[in-house]
Amino acid sequence: MIPELGHFSLVLAFVLALVQAVVPMVGAARNNPSMMAVARPAARGQFVFVVFAFGCLTWAFMNSDFSVALAARNSHSDTPMIYRITGVWGNHEGSLLLWAMALSLWTVAVTVFSRHIPDAFLARVIGVLGCVSTGFLAFLLATSNPFSRLLPGAAEGRDLNPLLQDPGMIIHPPLLYMGYVGFAVAFAFAIAALLSGRMDAAWARWSRPWTTVAWVFLTVGIAVGSAWAYYELGWGGWWFWDPVENASFMPWLLGTALIHSLAVTEKRGAFRSWTVLLAIGAFSLSLLGTFLVRSGVITSVHAFATDPARGLFIIGLLVLVIGASLLLFAWRAPTLSGGGSFGLVSRETTLLGNNVLLAVVSASVLLGTLYPLFLDALNLGKISVGPPYFQAVFVPLMTPVVVLMMFGPYLRWKSDAAGAVARRLAPAGIASLLIGIGIAVAIGHFTWRTTLGLTLAAWVVLASLQLLGSRLRERAGASMSSRLSTIPAAWWGMWTAHFGVGIFIIGVTLVGSIDANLDVRMKAGEQIDFAGYHFVLRGVDSVPGPNYDASRATIELSREGRAVGVLQPEKRVYRAMGMPMTEAALDIGPFRDVYVSLGEQLPEGDWIVSLHRKPFISWIWAGCLLMALGGVLAVADRRYRRLAERQMPASAMQQAV
């Protein structure tokens, strides 16, 4: 009964989405306030029904109702409760339902925090979000009904893929989806601006906090996914340039370009058409990412099902969204005037340069990700594009981005003198080069890649500190606390995120250059010295888990005679499907992780043990979290709150901008 209620509720949500898509749009076009007023209640009603449907599906999973086909395929009565719940989104249908719920949540958030936005504009924004939601719910109901029954019901479920039975599963998909879907809001603002012909800077100001929040979610989501892959896949890599990772990385790159471009549009009125195009692009890539991952074209742990009907629907939806928005853009773009002009040396130029480079990087990732699919579809052979391609492209293209990132905050808007800024940054640059070479030689890895990475990282850190120093010197007379408090949160956000980039580069460079790995055969009681550590394999015991049987090794780790810790990597076999799984064990430290995983057991009873020392790997996640924190600070800036409190009429707003 409850699954049927969920299904019914989803149908109602679809109907409301349709209403939300059509009525406010027509109302905005005809300037009919009562039709526009439908936007808010329709969006909120839709949210209630989608959440209810999601709750029904979760109920089926929690109670192991295996007459629901989805639960029978992705759950088991022995599965721990938390993975029964997360199993809801560990499959195609459920993850799309999660997507729809995230979209609904964002839409409700827009209806709540938008009192300062004129009704007609808001009606269009919510209408566009309604269109997206209609498409998704139609896709769910037509091709991927999560509530389909299995008749007769299965006696026992097939269990959730063991790779997904991990704490990472609890937070990674929801965060990532909040990020993906959040770009729908930026997209909706851009489309609403095109539709209304209000191409002044006001929409950029309204859209900015939303876009930044979406970007924060995506940043954290990707970082969590990367950390998860690092400890779960058992061989210590943190980024594989796997198509599924690229699918989330492309919208992140364009999203990064978008939040910077929005800044220029808001502050200077420039880059208007470019910003609109980026908003369309970032959301299109989010959609493409969701579909690439979910449709099964890409084979990986994320691909749950292959079904040609789904593929067609997906392509149709993509073409519709991208085609329609680009057509609208082509029609309206000529009305966009250029906005503020700027000189060759100005903050605008650095931001433009970075925007173009980030767009090129995402295009090159797109090429590497989609080209094998095209060739395959056209029957021209099977190929793969491996990490070497992405590395060869990524480093040279991102290096100038990082350099421009340091110059940008020093330069004034509109026009500045190149010489003065270069003189200010040069000492830090020279010092960084020396530091880079020094460290590269000291760690015995003097290659151009390592030296470049370390130099850039040092330069970012030094330039950030220097920037902070000069900002604090601006008001020389005041006390330190008043000097700190007059710096707006948005500036701290920019500073923190850029500083985070430096930390991130340190981690990436050092893990990439001096990590150590040894695969070795060990028997119980055997010891080995590796990378400055002493490992003793005490033994391997059989340990039953709730829905698996594990062989758990106990390895004592010590350094120079002092005990560091005990590591217990496991080899598990999940009972439901007899599927083996490796669980690595880590000793996490600020400057290095020691990472141990079990390979196969040899016929004689010995084990293959894989030992890793990963220097500075935590700095990668720390860098990502700093970038995300930067985004949070930027959104917390007082001017957004003031904006909301004052409820400025639109005309006054325009003048203020």
């Binding site: 893929n161 340069g353 083996p580």
Partner: protein, 148 residues
């Protein structure tokens, strides 16, 4: 500088940057494509010598052998028509099993042994990598035409 020539410099610089970036991307792309070949292709000499490529098929039952160090393994990959011997040093993925599908990246040695640098066995017990499935299909097609 006049605004006009300033703008020209900006545009010119931008275009030069783009051209350089695109050239970089395309040349990196050309150099790093990894092609897939079936065991039959390899035996027929269609696979590139000394270059990295991928092969796929079933791990032949009973072919898995370990050297004394426990780390170096030898096995054979077959598309049911032809068999390629493979050597690999390292830990095998969890789902690597005799009789199951696998995709292997590496290069062909002069002795006809495939030296694997990476063994990919995907994430589901019953899952067949599409490349491996493709290799089996090709071999079956050929067998069908030959028997006719």
């Amino acid at each position: 500088m006049k605004p006009r020539s300033k703008r020209m410099m900006l545009v010119g610089g931008g275009v030069a940057l783009l051209v350089a970036a695109v050239a970089l991307v395309l040349s990196a792309f050309q150099q790093n494509l990894v092609f897939f070949h079936t065991p039959t292709d390899v035996i027929e000499g269609k696979a590139p010598k000394g270059k990295t490529f991928r092969i796929g098929g079933l791990v032949e039952a009973g072919s898995l052998q370990r050297e004394a160090d426990g780390l170096t393994v030898r096995f054979a990959i077959t598309d049911t028509a032809k068999v390629i011997p493979v050597t690999y040093k390292g830990t095998l993925p969890d789902l690597f099993k005799e009789g199951k599908g696998a995709v292997i990246q590496g290069s062909l040695g002069p002795d006809g042994q495939f030296r694997a640098t990476e063994v990919l066995a995907k994430h589901d017990e019953n899952y067949m990598p599409p490349e491996a499935a493709h290799a089996l299909e090709q071999a079956q097609k050929t067998a069908a035409t030959v028997s006719q």
